[in-house]
Point group: C2
Chain length 331, copies 2
């Protein structure tokens, strides 16, 4: 097996985040569930946008954020996702490329604009997402560069991609290619509602032994296992993968790999501003640690450092020098 | 003269800011003058963008920022400017409308996209702007709603609009309409390079008695007067207008109105993040004060409060509750 050219190759929805402040009353009036991601169509996107406060636009998407985190830590990252040939798509491509991420999936004029997620940030720093998938839901498996997949130490996929049918086939094909090349496959359950929508499909993936590294937060792993108890859920899910990582917000994170287990606390922060991207950046740190041969505990700590940085400002991509923050952990 | 429906109606370039961090070395390598605004064409915009760091997009434009400041202070604000029927134009319109600003200038398909300004923010918090005017330079005088102008206590215009020829005619017409209706006309010199480009035209406007309230920073008023000395420049320019306002960054601001003069210090800040919008927000506070019959000193202090808020975060539009920050000043 040749040395990998990339550390982590991420596949996900290419989404521009449209971030605005909102009150709890506004969420209630809109019938939105705080902290959740819901999929909306173009009409609903327009209606909601008309009621939203002035917004800032930053590139996002769970897997895209993870790729940005890997790059900010000094890793070699790639991204696969579908944008349209429009202003938002150009913006998305610029931000990945400028961050040093390899992004070669061509734009495609499928009659839908580049995806956007309207993110409502409440005064408690939590974000509630309304995603119009647009072009992202049309990522065809033909858009995969299979050599790029074979060249990457870890292929990382987001559960959100399971929602629309076309990218689901692309994901399944990408997993096949990575496994045949002897590479690691990592997967995030994305959110508990996503698990609710696709529990059966996700369990088939896991039971088929196609996932090496699984990321979940507490709610997601409990939803997957069908038990409202962390340790029971961990015990049920861990045997299905080589490595299970569970993030627990301010309670830290844990990882189980066969008989091995590590627990780390959350990194201290000065101020919680916006939790968008916390899980994505945790995955970035952990995956780069693993790709670089670090221990389970070191990899978790890398994840915690990257997550702590991103929740202290608006937006889901790192702004500070993550490599410096990681210090000895990546030396 | 009927009571005005709007406090301040702003005319300016409708520009989306594309903001990224940059090093001093990058500015030097690009041959850019720190703190300046330069106009670039579409090709140069693409070239520069390809070399810029990942960016955030927020609505900007000097006069648009001022309108947002007036609205955030609880004033009734309007905006006139030209966007294209594209994603950036929709974003721009949303942000003004969501801030409660009346923006009824229709989008126009003039073959150029909505304007964008690539703003490079150096570690010292200063911003260097590269503006591609696109659709904004095609604002025709036919796009003015003359009743809206007659309905506004103050018409506020940015010097930047003098750069392209078409909006210049629109500005001149707007000034005529405002004066005929007995409204106040306010004008900002925008930046010292803008003064350099249009010193003669600006002096004609002033000598013709068409400007009631003039905004300038120290460099601009000195450039206009042609003397490198603040008090001499103030003495030369003040007689040409009813009210002259000069902002001096951390040294505060002053205003001269006939025999009357007021000086105020800058408001204290915790941290300088990004000076973009400081002058625009100063103008917002001052103009709303004047529109509401406040004293020269109170109006200057309102300007200082609004400017202090905007330089403590990225972006040129207020994020905090300016009305609360203004407190008794607007009571």
């Amino acid at each position: 097996m040749p040395d990998p050219r990339l550390d982590v190759l991420c596949i996900g929805n290419a989404i521009v985040d449209v971030i605005a402040d909102a009150t709890d009353a506004f969420l209630a009036q809109e019938g939105q569930v705080k902290g959740a991601m819901r999929l909306i169509d173009g009409d609903e996107a327009e209606r909601l946008y008309a009621h939203m406060a002035p917004a800032r636009q930053v590139s996002g998407g769970s897997a895209g954020n993870t790729a940005a985190g890997v790059a900010a830590l000094g890793g070699r990252a790639g991204f696969i996702g579908q944008v349209a040939p429009d202003q938002l798509g150009e913006f998305y491509r610029h931000d990945l490329t400028a961050a040093g991420i390899e992004f070669i999936t061509p734009a495609s004029d499928v009659g839908a604009p580049t995806a956007r997620s309207m993110i409502l940030v409440t005064p408690d720093g939590h974000r509630t997402m309304n995603t119009f998938l647009g072009a992202a839901q049309h990522l065809p498996k033909q858009a995969l560069d299979e050599q790029q997949i074979r060249d990457s130490a870890i292929l990382y996929l987001e559960g959100y991609l399971w929602d629309p049918e076309t990218p689901r086939y692309a994901m399944v094909r990408a997993i096949e290619v990575a496994r045949q090349a002897g590479r690691k496959v990592a997967f995030t359950l994305s959110d508990m509602f996503c698990v609710g929508r696709h529990r059966e499909g996700f369990n088939q993936l896991l039971d088929g032994g196609r996932i090496d590294i699984l990321f979940a937060n507490q709610a997601e792993v409990e939803a997957l296992a069908g038990v409202a108890h962390l340790e029971s859920a961990v015990a049920a899910v861990a045997p299905k993968v080589e490595t299970l990582v569970v993030t627990r917000s301010e309670d830290g994170a844990l990882a189980v790999r066969g008989p091995e287990r590590a627990d780390v606390p959350a990194e201290p922060i000065r101020e919680l501003v916006d939790t968008t991207g916390a899980g994505d950046l945790f995955a970035a740190g952990f995956l780069l640690g693993i790709a670089r041969g670090k221990s389970l505990e070191q990899s978790l700590r890398l994840g915690a450092v990257a997550a702590a940085e991103v929740i202290q400002h608006y937006g889901a991509r790192p702004e500070a020098d993550l490599r410096a923050l990681a210090g000895d952990l990546l030396a």
